[in-house]
């Protein structure tokens, strides 16, 4: 075997230093804090007490509930919508280029700017959304009406992130050889069975990535909502990160640390479940309908 040049490690030192300062040390600090009660510069080891408090905290629990409903809701909307849009997009020529750029545009906008755009969009005095709803006699009010606020946040997320699913599916679709569609045609498959047995199975890997990314990102949503509704009215649109930020701002570092870690593990576990389900569905030797 060839001896590797160990000096290479030397060049990694700057990167490792940066990493340790901006990632490793903060994470260790958070873990450390989560086991202590911290106030006015003093810290007392209190074991798992912070974790127990978080799990019993009604504010945390209701935010978690809202968060789960929100994340599943936007997946339910964005995945089918994204697939549908990608199916309808032109496959080649200048139209394909135009469509790709148009669809991808929202992805280029920074998260907080998205929030500002939608805030202007939905404002009672100058926004287009209230004007639109007023046409139908509905008195839309993002600031005071909980239902309006919630659906506005959902709509904003759909607008911002469905393009990601579209782009992933679009590339997935283009990778399906024509022969598969031709074979389905010859086999007399309907449009639905062609989609069900040819297209969808071949989109599995891109959809797995898309769903995981969307789940993780939506679970951590903060800036857009903060800009649009600030978590209100009341706590209608206060998601997990909102609770976390308010704890950190209130200098509850121990409690915040425990919350962060629980937050992290929830994302990890749910993502892992998604991953297992998505990579296994349809691949195992399914029992035939009859044999």
């Amino acid at each position: 075997m060839k001896t590797e040049n160990q000096r290479a490690w030397f060049f990694l030192i700057p990167a490792l230093l940066v990493m340790s300062i901006n990632a490793f040390i903060p994470i260790m600090t958070v873990i450390n804090y989560s086991f202590q009660d911290i106030f006015a510069g003093s810290a007392i080891w209190i074991g798992l007490e912070n974790y127990v408090r978080v799990l019993n905290d009604s504010e945390f629990r209701s935010a978690l509930g809202r968060q789960l409903i929100f994340s599943f809701l936007i997946l339910l909307i964005q995945v089918p919508l994204g697939i549908a849009i990608s199916l309808g997009m032109p496959k080649k020529g200048w139209r394909a280029t135009v469509a790709l750029v148009a669809v991808g545009l929202p992805l280029l906008i920074p998260w907080n700017v998205v929030g500002i755009i939608w805030r202007v969009f939905t404002r009672g005095d100058l926004g287009l959304v209230p004007v639109f709803f007023n046409l139908f006699g509905y008195d839309y009010n993002v600031a005071n009406n909980a239902v309006d606020a919630y659906w506005s946040v959902v709509a904003m997320d759909v607008w911002h992130w469905t393009p990601l699913i579209v782009l992933l599916c679009y590339s997935g679709l283009n990778a399906i050889p024509d022969a598969f569609y031709q074979a389905a045609k010859i086999d007399g498959a309907s449009r639905w069975s062609t989609f069900r047995y040819v297209t969808l199975p071949r989109l599995r890997s891109v959809l797995t990535i898309g769903i995981l990314l969307r789940f993780m990102d939506s679970f951590r949503i903060y800036s857009e909502v903060d800009m649009l509704t600030g978590g209100g009215p009341g706590t209608t649109t206060a998601f997990l990160s909102d609770v976390l930020v308010s704890k950190a701002r209130a200098n509850e570092f121990g409690y915040g640390g425990a919350l962060s870690l629980i937050y992290f593990f929830i994302i990890l576990i749910i993502s892992y479940v998604f991953f297992l389900v998505l990579t296994n569905v349809g691949t195992a030797d399914e029992t035939p309908k009859e044999a």
Binding site: P177, A179, A183, I186, D187, G188, A189, Y197, D285, K289
Partner: protein
């Protein structure tokens, strides 16, 4: 099963471009024939196959199935099955459900589906795999499933193959090809097999069509393609090595190739003036001997190549360079002098890329 006819078929992918993928196609496949479309990559054979299956509507011409015009019909209306170059299976379905797919799409009842799928699985040696997921299988098995889906319907009119053995391992190729022949014998299927491999085409098919740059140059039995190639391209594309071809010029009562004069009756030569003339003869039909012979071409052996079963000699004489196939035990060395004869009935005269009819003699 059905008879397939293509009448004056032509196709441009961009209408009006004048850039034809295939043109002037007139071919008939009789009911139950096993046939091949043979040609180099890009010659239009896959386009032609799509026109037969109905995946592509030709920009000109008519497609007949058992005498009925099906030019505008879709693949499922024609009941034509196709096996693709890369095996196509429905990956989330079991082998059973894959085979049942075309039947269920046509609303067959459970009893019918079960019987037919088991019957086909037995023919293709897939019985033991029925419960397996199709995605877990190898290319050769997938290709058998793909074929099975084609023949599972009883009303399948023809099965088309688009280079179906490309991604199959060599040892499985032989097996699969034999399976195809067996199925053909058993079911009497009309089969059209597209390939660029002359060996595959000539061993599989009773009728072979040779194509080049969008044109069908010759349709005939493997033997006819060998003994009477209707175009220079057929001559050198089929055979290994291919036909010897020489440029020829018209002279009095014959044609000149190099310093050799070949005599032809005047009616053969009529109307050949101004056309590009070529003369062809296959290496295996040239007779050589070591002692001088009247009228034979005195030639020098420039190279001796052993191909296993025979020797291929590169000869030069009378201003011609040509290859000759002789028995492997012949005692020939480089630099030897040999006397070569071109038997009259083996020499074919071509004008503008087509054989001059009267020179296409029936081979004994």
């Amino acid at each position: 099963m059905a008879k397939i006819e293509l009448i004056d078929v032509a196709h441009e992918y961009q209408i009006g471009s004048g850039d034809y993928a295939v043109k002037d196609i007139n071919i008939t496949w009789n009911d139950g024939v096993s046939s091949a479309l043979l040609g180099p990559s890009g010659c239009g054979k896959t386009t032609l196959l799509k026109i037969i299956s109905g995946l592509l509507r030709p920009s000109e011409g008519t497609v007949l199935l058992d005498g009925e015009d099906v030019t505008g019909l879709s693949p499922q209306e024609r009941n034509v099955a196709q096996v693709f170059q890369f095996p196509v299976v429905y990956e989330t379905l079991s082998v059973f459900d894959n085979l049942a797919f075309p039947l269920r799409n046509r609303g067959a009842n459970k009893q019918e589906v079960r019987e037919r799928v088991h019957e086909i699985a037995e023919m293709l040696d897939l019985q033991d795999l029925l419960k397996k997921g199709a995605s877990s299988l190898g290319a050769a098995e997938k290709q058998r499933i793909s074929l099975g889906r084609g023949i599972v319907r009883k009303d399948t009119t023809a099965v088309l193959f688009d280079e179906p053995l490309t991604v199959i391992d060599p040892h499985m190729k032989w097996h699969l090809r034999r399976k195809l022949k067996e199925l053909h014998a058993r079911l009497g299927l009309t089969m059209v097999y597209v390939t660029h491999d002359q060996h595959e085409a000539l061993t599989f098919a009773e009728q072979v069509t040779v194509m080049d740059v969008g044109e069908a140059l010759q349709t005939g039995s493997p033997r006819a393609l060998h003994t009477r190639p209707a175009a220079p391209f057929v001559g050198y594309f089929i055979g290994s090595p291919g036909m010897n071809l020489f440029d020829a010029t018209l002279q009095d009562d014959g044609v000149m190739v190099g310093d050799l004069k070949l005599s032809y009756p005047s009616e053969t030569l009529q109307g050949l003036g101004g056309k590009k003339l070529q003369v062809g003869i296959r290496p295996e039909f040239i007779e050589v001997r070591s002692d001088p012979d009247d009228g034979a071409i005195k030639s020098t052996v420039e190279a001796v190549n052993l191909t296993g079963s025979s020797l291929i000699l590169d000869l030069a004489g009378k201003g011609l360079d040509f290859k000759v196939r002789v028995m492997e035990d012949a005692d020939v060395n480089e630099g030897d002098t040999l006397y070569a004869t071109f038997p009259d009935e083996r020499v074919i005269l071509y004008a503008d890329g087509r054989a001059v009819k009267s020179t296409l003699k029936e081979a004994a």
